[in-house]
């Protein structure tokens, strides 16, 4: 495989973009988890009203949605890596990758519905 200075320019991304996105989304998720932990700690003792009111402001809805989108993208890259490492037959791998995308897209839509019901 011609890499380095002799790499072929084929319009592929050579995985660099996904590599960076996986790190970026990881940082987003750490920041969101810390934010959520602080808000939960501040709202203690947690009953239904205290818990639900965390997710009522539009700012928190947006932050949570950004975290969910980051989670989906992060999980997609990670699962794609797993399929690429362990599943050699192209057909099976593509089916698994498609199933992963549908799985995550479904979860994302559900998360939006949950958030905007509160």
């Amino acid at each position: 495989m011609p890499i380095g200075p002799r790499r072929l320019v084929v319009g592929a991304h050579y995985g660099l973009r996904d590599w960076i996105v996986q790190r970026g989304t990881a940082v987003v998720l750490v920041i969101y988890l810390v934010l959520l932990a602080v808000m939960v700690a501040a709202a203690r003792p947690i009953d239904y009203d205290a818990w639900a009111s965390i997710f009522v402001p539009i700012g928190m809805k947006i932050a949570t949605l950004i975290a969910f989108v980051s989670l989906a993208y992060h999980a997609w890259i990670g699962m794609r890596d797993i399929w690429m490492d362990y599943v050699r037959p192209t057909g099976i791998r593509l089916v698994l990758q498609l199933a992963t995308i549908l799985w995550l897209a479904g979860c994302l839509v559900w998360a939006v519905q949950i958030l905007w019901k509160v």
Binding site: R23, A26, W51, F55, I82, L104, K117
Partner: protein, 131 residues
């Protein structure tokens, strides 16, 4: 340097005798915990939905979480998240070229295990209502 047996293209039979170094164990557990959370994502969303749906749903969740078996599952999921988080932060530091040498990498792997272990123990105590 101590003598090391060189293993190349190991077969299945060699796996039992192959001793994975600590960063390797951390790494495969990072992958397993990530895949686990991917698989249970709908379950977590269902719990999230239940907790936010209504006062009744929240109470239902409370009574579900009173079951010891459910608590055990929650402890397992808390461990998966905390292990994935701690090992992941370690990878971010490695990406910044910090602690790449073998000794430093082994030490940071132990630290990641220690931190995620302590946090998991704390989470377990909280889930079982000891705290």
């Amino acid at each position: 340097m101590s003598e090391r047996r060189i293993i190349r293209n190991i077969s299945i039979g060699d796996l039992a005798r192959y001793k994975l170094p600590v960063p390797g164990v951390l790494s495969i557990l990072h992958r397993i915990s990530g895949a686990l959370m991917f698989l249970v994502l709908p379950l977590l969303l269902w719990l999230f939905d239940l907790s936010l749906r209504s006062e009744l749903g929240f109470g239902h969740l409370r009574s579900l979480a009173a079951n010891a078996l459910v608590r055990l599952v929650l402890v397992g999921l808390a461990w998966a998240l905390l292990h994935h988080l701690c090992a992941g932060v370690r990878y971010l530091t490695l990406d910044l070229d910090l602690g790449v040498e073998r000794q430093a990498a082994r030490r940071s792997a132990w630290i990641a295990f220690a931190v995620s272990g302590l946090l998991s123990a704390w989470a377990a105590l909280a889930i079982f209502g000891v705290l």
